[in-house]
């Protein structure tokens, strides 16, 4: 039994891709309904319960029967197994709720990867059908609307003409030492931009420096998730209805290849339909593509909007690397003093290896070094110590080691965000056997790294370690933690955009080539992952697309 509701616009997903559209169009006068599969938390509900939030199923479902698994097969495996990898936070605000909020803009080499490299053997590269100048004003708009803090004019590689809307957060005093080390090796460190308020902004208070940003919701509202910033503003227009617990299961179209609405499952498990003139999918690159595959019809037997055959293809993640330097707190305090030694943020990044002109490597595109302090999670840190010893550290020795870590050591680390080349071996489709609790085929991820992405990543981890080793006073130990691995919640590419319908799923305004008034505004549109986390770019692009849709409404083209 279905009942019919109507809206001007239905948005599927309320995170980085969905919220800017919902806000812009409801401000412009449209009646907007947002379907969000997950629950709607109030920021004040968020806690620092490490087990409950990070080590169970708070943000991401368990992969078992009766839950919502994905399946994954890696690096040439034939069978896919159940996983919770590939999920981004399932709640109003999506991944922006649990992100750390490292907010860098894309650069020319992210938009022109194909032409600047001349192509890379085995990779399916494509330039953006946009120029950076088209996107820049929307980066500025996005930063102002959600609240991004940073310091312009220091990073020689930054893509901006205007200052940040908020000054940078306070850095741990060891940031000076990192700067000196970087400079001594010819690198240019700069303060890391964050989607975190350094001052009061609107009715939101500033950061309280608790340090529980990444993997947690911010109970303060100071982390600029869409939950804290754009969603309340959209609601305030009186024209935007957020519907949590509503899982879209099918996009509806008519015989003229025009979108007509969305079919979804409500919190009581009933199937409902909502009619709309415009539908915007923003459920994450994996889930939006899955929804389109599930929406196949007689005219689209391989999935809606898939005449190009590229739906689900060119899936990219981010190539990850990390290394750790162990410092003695006492030595650092002797040099820096005690003030600020408990501040949680280091906030230093390096982008000298974003584009490596003279490299002998196949891919001259590296990415970003993000220097930070080890995450404050105590259980995770303790398990890491046991793991580092290959589990041979236990008993009183483990207790002593824990005590030493928490009382005497400071760990400075870096994470590498590197380009993840798109290619035929990495894609998304529907699992032929496994179904979720709604009895729908789940997303199956086939993950394979292009070797050139991994080679660059390994090089970057070594170079990042050089910087750590150059810090004075010297670290006790510098060890690599991981290299050439996958950051799954940074996901893109499954509906890449472009001008040619044979080579793309979406047009340059992120409208589906094949279906009128159907847009996709999450990371699906990105032809490549970029050398930074794409979240700010997804937000900016979403504002851009929303602006375009708003003009189409005004011109009565819809």
């Amino acid at each position: 039994m279905t009942s019919v509701q109507k809206a001007d616009v239905v948005v599927v997903g309320s995170g980085a891709g969905g919220a800017p559209v919902a806000l812009t169009l409801s401000e412009a006068g449209a009646k907007v309904v947002v379907l969000e599969r997950g629950p709607w938390y109030s920021v004040r509900e968020f806690t620092h319960d490490e087990v409950g939030v990070c080590r169970r199923d708070f943000f991401v479902p368990y992969p078992y029967d009766g839950y919502d698994p994905k399946t994954i097969r890696k690096q040439g495996q034939k069978e896919a197994h159940r996983t919770s990898e590939g999920w981004i936070g399932v709640c109003v605000g999506g991944g922006t709720v649990h992100m750390s909020g490292f907010f860098y803009r894309f650069k020319e080499s992210d938009l022109r990867l194909k032409s600047m490299t001349g192509g890379v053997k085995g990779a399916d590269l494509a330039d953006w059908p946009l120029r950076m100048d088209d996107l820049l004003p929307y980066y500025d708009l996005m930063e102002a609307r959600i609240g991004v803090s940073g310091q312009a004019g220091i990073n020689p590689y930054e893509t901006r003409k205007r200052p940040f809307p908020l000054p940078p957060l306070h850095s741990h005093p060891a940031a000076k030492l990192l700067d000196q080390a970087a400079q001594s090796l010819g690198f240019h460190s700069f303060p890391t931009p964050r989607a975190i308020l350094s001052r009061s902004y609107g009715n939101r208070p500033p950061c309280n420096y608790c340090g529980f940003c990444g993997d947690y919701g911010c109970e303060n509202g100071a982390k600029s998730s869409t939950l804290a910033s754009l969603i309340p503003a959209a609601e305030d227009t009186g024209r935007c209805l957020i519907k949590p617990g509503c899982m879209a299961r099918r996009v509806l179209v008519d015989r003229d290849d025009r979108v007509t609405g969305v079919e979804y499952i409500d919190p009581q498990g009933e199937v409902k339909r909502i009619q709309a003139r415009v539908v915007v999918l923003a459920a994450s690159a994996i889930e939006s593509a899955r929804l389109l595959l599930l929406s196949e019809t007689g005219r689209f037997p391989h999935g809606l909007c898939n005449r190009s055959g590229l739906l689900g293809k060119n899936l990219t993640f981010s190539t990850f690397g990390k290394a750790t330097a162990v410092f003695d707190r006492g030595e650092l305090e002797a040099k820096l003093g005690k003030a600020g030694m408990d501040l949680p943020f280091l906030l230093r990044s390096v982008q000298d290896d974003y584009w490596m002109e003279k490299t002998p490597l196949l891919l001259p595109k590296g990415g970003t070094y993000n220097f930070l302090l080890h995450h404050p999670n105590p259980i995770n840190a303790a398990i890491r110590l046991a793991l580092d010893s290959k589990w041979s550290l236990w008993g009183q020795k483990l207790k002593d080691r824990l005590h030493k870590y928490f009382h005497e050591e400071l760990w400075i680390e870096f994470e590498v965000f590197g380009e993840f080349l798109p290619h035929q071996g990495c894609y998304l489709d529907l699992d032929p056997r496994v179904k979720d609790r709604f009895n729908l085929p789940v997303a199956r991820i086939t993950n394979r790294h292009h070797p050139a992405s991994d080679d660059v990543n390994r090089l970057m981890v070594r170079r990042g370690m050089d910087i750590l080793e150059a810090i004075r006073p010297a670290p006790r130990k510098v060890t690599p933690w991981t290299w050439a691995t996958t950051t799954y919640h940074l996901q893109h590419g499954t509906c890449r955009f472009g001008t040619d319908p044979a080579k793309s799923v979406l047009d340059p305004c992120c409208q589906a080539h094949d279906i009128k008034n159907l847009y996709v505004t999450d990371g699906s549109f990105l032809p490549n992952s970029g050398g930074v986390p794409a979240t700010p770019t997804i937000l900016a692009n979403s504002f851009r697309v929303a602006h375009h849709i708003s003009k189409s409404f005004r011109r009565r083209e819809i």
């Binding site: 806690t47 109970e219 589990w391 236990w394 009183q396």
Partner: protein, 179 residues
């Protein structure tokens, strides 16, 4: 007595409220008659508690056994419930090896004897059908550390002893001196 004292300490510590969980902070889960629902049979539980105590001295006092009970018995299903079979089998093997070497149950062995037995598990040297002894050991270490440092509402980190040991608490607001 212990229940009242824990509730009082919890309110004094002003730990983040979180969600109200039934039966939390009162030791092992209870059935409708109020009888204790031990997740493991007494012998298995003794073996696991003794192992946890060797892995992290002070674990039992800190409530690690109650923490384990909580997550293994929790409905709906938690990822740790999945570990119940391997923990149960592991406990059986702990006693089997202890009896073979020292003619006593694991819990009745001397500390250095228990350490010798545990070392064999940690190194994956205990061979048995459908049992991975190093995986068992790693899960036990993981649960012990979780039990020591988690929010006391789950039954472990009794009175915040784990957080006091490491010198920090993940309270929702911690004043810092800003430069």
């Amino acid at each position: 007595m212990r229940l009242n004292r824990r509730q009082m300490i919890l309110s004094l510590l002003s730990i983040s409220a979180g969600r109200l969980l039934p039966g939390c902070g009162s030791g092992p889960a209870k059935n409708r008659e109020g009888a204790s629902l031990l997740v493991f049979e007494p012998d298995r539980r003794r073996a696991l508690c003794s192992a946890a105590e060797r892995i992290l001295p002070g674990a039992v006092e800190a409530g690690v056994p109650e923490y384990m009970d909580y997550w293994i018995s929790r409905q709906p299903f938690s990822i740790v419930s999945d570990w119940k079979p391997i923990l149960k089998v592991g406990a059986v093997h702990l006693d089997r090896i202890a009896r073979a070497e020292y003619r006593r149950a694991f819990a009745d062995c001397k500390p250095d004897e228990q350490d010798a037995v545990l070392t064999r598990f940690q190194k994956g040297e205990v061979r048995a059908k459908r049992f991975n002894s190093s995986a068992f050991f790693q899960r036990l270490v993981t649960l012990t550390l979780e039990g020591f440092l988690s929010d006391p509402k789950y039954g472990g980190n009794r009175d915040g002893v784990g957080w006091r040991f490491i010198g920090r608490t993940p309270c929702w607001w911690a004043p810092k001196r800003l430069p």
